[in-house]
Point group: C2
Chain length 430, copies 2
């Protein structure tokens, strides 16, 4: 195999054989194919995409590059939830313990903040002591004992993805459907799950800006799930505005705890229950969507879901006592109010800019080595469709590094439009 010829083949929009992809990818993992040839290949894939067969090969090869969990000894339904990434999206942190309390086993490998989107791991790590860097044998034991563990990608899981993902991030090749599919599905299949529900985000704060692109991605993910014998449901939800009342780090953990206490924001809970219902139906723990939603509400109101959350936090060395008196923990030292410059109705929110403002506040990384400010975040007082008066607080941003506050505030000031139209925001995109 001449690597440059394979790059040209993809560049010329021809289909790569599985053997060709395997040689290229395994060569890359071994280091015989250098980063620059993979970078050219990734950009060629970005432009010419891949056929379903090629994507299946890609997933299989990435999967085979590492270990695969096996939970077939459990008598529980083993499942996971994945979101394609958004702003203020803390659903995993609520839904994981909730489903575990319903009797599912949830082996969840989560991600970090990426670009303008928040990362579950970064949020969880604001809990004092909480460990996400857990090896596969401990992961296995935690899922067995607790019913849930939320960990970071280890060296053992899909090393091809780790290496490719880092390269995609610096070569402008993130937003490619086959590459997104390869990255998500290889890791999810490696978790040894039977069922999966995908929250495919669409809108200005999502990687897929349009409903059509999101549906294309969702259909591709679902098709791959089927190819690998994983029952896969897809829900499309809007990222045309942030999810929930807060976006940031510790503030999202607090909001998740509110959710587990039955006091979560409506949009967040609607999506949580919708996604959860799909897995409860898959697991045969409910016979209808309505029954599945009722079951989840009961588990919240009984405290079972929150107890499972505390159990998980403890099992991963986090300090559950922080939730007893959370007003003291990670308090932001500085804040800035963003007020309405005129009266009217909020027409639009630029969720991408809002996500970047969180990074600017210190709540995300501009480069991999950046430290994160756990206190950084934004509170949303009003969202799309709200009628507001001049001077009303629209948002409040906060952090513990005053020098970063002004830049973020400026970004937020330009992140919404006020007008006369009566507008509605569609949360679940049909």
């Amino acid at each position: 195999m001449i690597p440059a010829e394979l790059i040209k083949k993809k560049r010329n929009n021809q289909v790569l054989e599985e053997s060709e992809l395997r040689e290229f990818l395994t060569g890359y993992v071994k280091g015989t194919i250098p980063d620059y040839q993979m970078a050219a290949m990734l950009m060629a894939i970005y432009f010419n995409s891949m056929e379903p067969d090629e994507i299946d090969s890609l997933v299989a090869i990435m999967l085979e590059s590492g270990d695969r969990m096996n939970f077939s000894h459990l008598d529980r339904y083993v499942a996971d939830k994945h979101s394609t990434g958004g702003v203020g999206d803390k659903v995993s942190i609520i839904l994981g313990p909730l489903l575990a309390s319903a009797g599912l086993a949830i082996p969840m490998i989560s991600g970090r903040s990426l670009g303008h989107t928040g990362g579950t791991l970064d949020k969880l790590e604001t809990i004092p002591g909480f460990r996400t860097n857990i090896d596969l044998s401990e992961f296995n034991r935690l899922v067995h004992d607790v019913g849930i563990a939320m960990i970071s990608q280890t060296d053992e899981i899909c090393p091809a993805d780790r290496k490719m993902y880092a390269l995609r991030d610096v070569t402008g090749t993130i937003e490619s459907i086959p590459l997104i599919c390869g990255s998500i599905m290889s890791k999810k299949i490696a978790e040894g799950i039977q069922g999966l529900v995908l929250d495919v985000k669409t809108g200005n704060g999502a990687f897929m800006k349009t409903k059509e692109r999101a549906q294309k991605l969702g259909a591709a993910l679902q098709r791959i799930g089927k190819s690998f014998q994983i029952t896969t449901d897809v829900v499309y939800t809007s990222m045309d505005q942030p999810l929930g009342r807060y976006a940031g780090l510790w503030c999202e953990i607090q909001e998740s705890v509110d959710g587990l206490h039955g006091k979560g924001p409506e949009d967040t809970m609607i999506i949580t229950y919708e996604l959860g219902a799909r897995l409860l139906l898959q697991a045969n723990l409910a016979q209808s969507r309505e029954a599945a939603i009722t079951l989840q509400k009961d588990l919240i109101h009984s405290g079972a879901a929150y107890d499972k959350f505390l159990e998980m936090v403890g099992a991963q060395s986090g300090d559950p006592e922080v939730f007893d008196n959370n007003s003291e923990h990670h308090g932001a030292h500085f804040e800035q109010i963003i007020a309405a410059p005129l009266s009217g109705i909020i027409q639009k929110m630029d969720t991408y800019i809002i996500g970047l403002a969180i990074v600017e506040l210190g709540g995300g990384r501009k480069k991999a080595s950046d430290l994160i400010d756990p206190s950084a975040g934004i509170e949303f007082y009003h969202k799309i469709g709200a009628e507001i008066s001049k001077g009303d607080t629209i948002m409040r941003c906060f952090n513990s590094n005053e020098s970063k506050l002004e830049g973020a505030s400026r970004m937020l000031t330009s992140s919404f439009e006020i007008g006369d139209e009566v507008v509605e925001h569609e949360l679940i995109v049909q």
Copy 2:
């Protein structure tokens, strides 16, 4: 500047500012932008091309990365000829000395064999002792004293191009008009020339397979020449069949010497005279195309052009005596005849395959470290439009490594089509 953002900008088909391109390219030359980010950028340029202003910036930045010759002290017209690459194209070796004997100064930086195309340097180096690795001060002196020198790209000339070219070769990003333009024109402008004639090849043995693509490249090259105050003429010639009777290494030097003796193949001499006429007209050494062609024929028949060739060979440490008894030098040890499988008219020749067959014979490199067999080559007995009988010799291939002969012969057997149609080959494409 975040390099990944510039890659995304080009990926999204936006125009890069000169300052952005400069930061990216100078960072690449210095090593702060790694190969993998340049590889992704090159592939994005391959797909989205560049606007004229971007191409001019690219050329200027590549040019500024190294030294620029200055021949303004010469009282001769300083010019060069460049071909976009073909099979059997030995025109530079005839035309360079011919124009120098007419009084032009020709500072020619030539290239090596690339893919299926032959390289002037590799051909010249089959002359015993001939040096092409010459530094700029000697280059300057040779052009001053002899009127011509044919050298390889030095470290001092366009280091950005050297580094980018090597990367393009292994990342499938050669066939991009803006990148071809940048590579050719930065080097030609660095030669300090006043005039340039470009032989833009088109057809199945060219990098530009269609007349439209060739004309697009030619127009872009000419526009850049104008931007940089270089009088630039373009001639489009066919690569739908090899040029001349021979293609290979030493055999092309022999054929060039035949040409300088007035015994060259008709197609090769037509193109030589056509290209030469453009530069003689530019230099005001002829008042009409016809007069320019007559002048060249006179310089050939008087022996002046051949004498200049021998002078150049001697000045570059080559042994001119090899031409006194050339039958002994680089004799091929093995040969194979390719005969017509049926009677009819040659309809087509696959010049790309013929070029690859030369590589297979040992006349080109599959990787940069491959040694070249100077005796390798092909003789063409008949070309497009020739009426032939079953069993007639169509080609003869030869080399000094028998193990490589059969593979090449097989390629050549499939490199032509015989049919009934009366066909003609258009040498100079209008």
